[in-house]
Symmetry: C2
Subunit: 409 residues, 2 copies
């Protein structure tokens, strides 16, 4: 019994920390409650809607189903629901008319066949990627409305009148949803995406810095910021798995009207490209991190000349990343970036030069097997940043060109 | 006009190739059509359900909303719908009874307040990760049913009777869905997950092999299998972004009963662990791939001694991956694996030994700047497989222990 009580307590504690960390989500919950109350008030006020299972139910259902966390996804669902309902409703009426013209005995077969065919076709369309991205929900609503119309149409003749009432209740529900999401502390999918991208860039910079601090530190000054730096090091892991979130947000952002600094046709797809190049940076850091764990010990005298260059390289590239992040945040082209990129390039060259001199200085110390083994370890640690930074430069180039595009809008 | 026609034609061609490549999805569409037709036949046959907006509609709605691609997700939705409806229905009746006892003036306020509070609470619960994974849909249905009951309950007194009818129609719809998904060529989420994991392992092995062939090939025999190998090389990219798919499948697989080789409580979470270690392998390959693109040219005489060892290492590790894949496929522990792992370990040692002898043999040729620069390039190519393979060995260890666990069930 105690175990269950503890479990429940733990659960509530988790929920509480979630609520404290993300007050936006709590606000969203209150908004849902408010929208539902409004719809039901509307229902109480209007005596013309009466009876259980009446059409008021559709307004409630619309609110529950359509109300989502971001403005973009709510709009997406509203538009899809509207299109799906209208299309399926008119098609259903048409099929119903054809069926009723063709006699009592054939009628159910025509209706059955049309339900079967259209449901199968609409379900298939949901598997096609382009439709899935934009009209997945609409296709579902299409199937639902069409089969409801054709099934119920068999009994009732006043379909058009009913359709009119139903569409109006759905419109009421949808407009309440849209008003509440847009007016009361709106959560824009576009802003969230923008924020996610710039935060992720910063996290990348932090973990690159943390990695450098961990790997190239002078062994005297250890364990001071141990926890802090390992926290920072883990930052890149968020970037690794952010693809799905980015894509869905970019998808919803397309439905949003102009808000804040963003226009209606803001190039959201560019964010996906930045996200992709950030992910390949994160892959590099992941590999570096793996190398850190299987650390081969390197003798001091070999480590020192490389340490400086590597440190300079990683700090300069993390500076570039930070500058990019703040550029995205403010949406301004910064002239500082060029200087930082130049600095990074020069430190890459510095590293390459050090490596060039490396094999020749190798033979200055006594060439016993132990030192001969060493370059493996040291160069492993040093060459990877080179490869990493070379890749980053390529990515910088694409990133900056993208940013110029975005900033120019 | 021609452009639009071409676009439409292209769209249909895409749809056609999708249908040809994945016949399972076409079968799914036909199943949806069949389920809907069955529900409407049921509706035609029973004259006791009559009138538009009657309860038969709930059966249709249940089928449309609940019918999903895999058995697991259909079951998940059915169970969630049942639990959500029952819980919300009984709660709604209770609140309604309390409200009706407290006089006409207070009644609407009590109902309003309860709708607001419960809707907000249920919406919040959908943000909590553990509930989101298992009961997201149930929470939505809970909100829907509760607000419908309390809103409509204001007008109608025969709620219990109606609730009974509604539950029975939902049960009919749900059971039709379950029967059709389970009996007619079922798509088990568990089997799909199993298949995905073993295919991904094979793809990893292929791209490792392809990478080796690309990077360490003797320059005489180029461009023969160029296209084929670059196709294989891209294989690892599927692994990079498979996390979301794996997680949702493992989530749905938990709801499935015993089928084929899998028991009810098959350790699906282990598959996620295998997936995670596969992903970190894929990150390594991604980094290797990046190194391939920024290929620094290496002089022949330095390349040759390393080529053999690297080739041996990558073929042996891709053999291990393939063996693992076939082990997962057949779900049998293979004794061959131990031999292959030993082989891989020995080739890792071989590479390390070659590297040890490397700095000393460096000074045999004339030490002009060009050759001194070379080790950078070659060792970059060679040391990374070392790091890669070292990481892989660690992963092999976890993988094998996982597989032993799975195979023992």
């Amino acid at each position: 019994v105690m175990g269950i009580v503890l479990n429940i307590r733990e659960f509530f504690e988790k929920a509480w920390t979630l609520a404290v960390n993300e007050p936006k989500k709590v606000v969203h919950c209150l908004k849902v409650g408010l929208a539902l109350s409004l719809v039901s008030v509307f229902y109480y006020m209007r005596p013309l809607y009466d009876g259980f299972g009446g059409n008021a139910m559709w307004a409630v259902m619309t609110v529950v189903v359509v109300f989502e966390y971001t403005v973009g996804s709510t709009l997406y669902k509203c538009v899809n629901r509207a299109i799906g309902t209208c299309l399926a409703g008119s098609l259903g009426l048409g099929v119903h008319w054809v069926a009723s013209q063709s006699g009592d005995r054939v009628e159910p077969f025509i209706l059955q066949a049309s339900v079967f065919l259209l449901a199968a076709a609409a379900t298939f369309s949901r598997f096609i990627p382009t439709i899935k991205a934009r009209f997945d929900y609409g296709a579902m609503i299409f199937i639902l409305t069409f089969s409801l119309v054709s099934v119920s149409g068999y009994r009732v003749d006043k379909l058009v009148e009913l359709a009119h009432e139903r569409v109006s209740t759905i419109a009421i529900g949808a407009s309440i949803c849209i008003l509440i999401t847009v007016i009361l502390s709106p959560v824009w999918a576009g802003t969230e995406l923008h924020h996610l991208i710039s935060t992720n860039l910063e996290k990348l910079a932090d973990s690159l810095e943390g990695y450098a601090a961990e790997n190239f530190r002078v062994d005297g000054s250890t364990n001071v910021h141990q926890k802090d730096s390992s926290m920072k090091l883990q930052g890149y892991k968020c970037v690794l798995n952010s693809k799905a979130a980015e894509e869905s947000m970019a998808n919803f952002a397309r439905w949003e009207p102009a808000h804040g600094k963003f226009n209606f046709r803001h190039p959201w797809k560019q964010y996906l490209k930045i996200g992709a190049s950030m992910r390949s940076c994160a892959y590099c850091i992941e590999t570096l991190h793996g190398g850190l764990n299987s650390n081969t010990e390197t003798p001091e005298f070999l480590k020192k000349p490389l340490n400086d260059v590597c440190m300079r390289l990683s700090t300069s590239s993390s500076k570039v990343l930070k500058e990019l992040s703040s550029m995205i945040k403010t949406m301004k082209n910064s002239t500082k970036l060029d200087i930082l990129v130049d600095e990074m390039n020069s430190s890459v060259e510095g590293l390459q030069n050090t490596l060039k001199t490396f094999p020749s200085c190798q033979h200055i110390p006594t060439p016993d097997p132990a030192t001969e083994e060493a370059p493996g370890g040291t160069e492993e640690a040093s060459l990877k940043p080179t490869a990493l930074s070379l890749m980053e430069i390529v990515q910088m180039a694409t990133l900056t060109s993208l940013l110029v595009e975005i900033a120019s809008r």
